[in-house]
Every structure is written in structure tokens, then in C-alpha cells.
Amino acid sequence: MTMAREITREDVRRLLDEGAYLVEVLPADEYEREHIAGAVSIPLARLGREASRLPRDRAIVVYCYDYQ
């Protein structure tokens, strides 16, 4: 297992092109309002419980707020 690390926008684009699994950890209503195309919603409070359903065979990109 590889430890989490912070990555750049360009890294995200590359990883998504390679099939990475994209997870937004904001509350569900934030996700419903707007999210990065292709992301799935796992609110942070549920992330621990649902970690077992995350894929093991590809990179996982986790993000919260987009805005600077």
C-alpha cells in the first residue's frame, strides 16, 4: 500500500486518464450541487466505514474543496 500524498492538478488529469478512482469527501449535498465530473461521493464521516469498498487495483484520488 502506498501512503497518501498531495498531488497537483496535472497529476490528477494524468491519473484520471490512467483510470484512477476519484472520491469527493464533502457532504452529500455539496456533491449534489456540483462536483468534478466522474467523481463518486463518500462524505468524510463515512470514509472510514466505506474504505473497504474502494478499489485496490488502481490509484484513488480524494479531494474536498476545489476553490482557492
Partner: protein, 135 residues
Amino acid sequence: MDWFASGGRREGREASRPRAGDVARADVPTCRLDERRADLAARVRAAGWSQCVVVDDDRVVLGLLEGEALDGGAATAADAMREGPTTIRPHVTLDDTVKSLAAHRREQVLVTTSDGRLVGLLRRADAERRLSTAA
């Protein structure tokens, strides 16, 4: 990671709301710091504009030339420009953009990516027109 500001695709209930980047005029004239002000003024006016954005080689905004500064006596764009013009990011909704421009009594604003690269010049009238047609 500033995804939306860089043009990344979005989904969701509000994903289709018009944004600043949708109406920013990408054809606003640009120039370099060392361009001769007189030549520049002639070029900008000939293109039907009264503003010119001063950018570097990466299109990062350095300043803005408009009005009297464009037609004044300065030798170069660097001498005449106003440094640090106000900018907004392309993902800001048009609703919020118009409210902000109205609150500050401004008719236009530059739209840039989060790393300062020019997207275009947004005119309040364009934004209001777009909102009225979207309503």
C-alpha cells in the same frame, strides 16, 4: 487543486449555471511590457478596443492599459499600465460576478486562471445579457 478554475469538467445540479469564463472575451488585445505605447494604442483602437492587457510570455497578467493611459504620453506599455488589476476566476458564476461588479460600480473585470493566466475580459453588459437570456 483548483480544478474548475482550470477548466475541468463539472457535474451536478448547478453544473450548467453560466460562469465568468463562458462570457469572457478572449480576443481582448494583449501586449508586452516593452511595446511602444503609441504603436499599441493604434493597434488596439484599430481592433475596436479601448483596453489592452499587459502579459508575459506565459500570458500571465501583469497590468492593464485603458482610457487615458492608452492614449497618454508614456513611452512603453510598462510605463503606462495600471499594475495588479482586479481579476476573477473563470468558474465564478455569472450571478456572483454581476453582483460583485455592481457592488463595486465596475463595468468590466479580467478573468484569469488561478495561476494568473489571462482567459479574457468580462464586460458586465455581456454577463447581464447572458443572464437575461438564460432566465
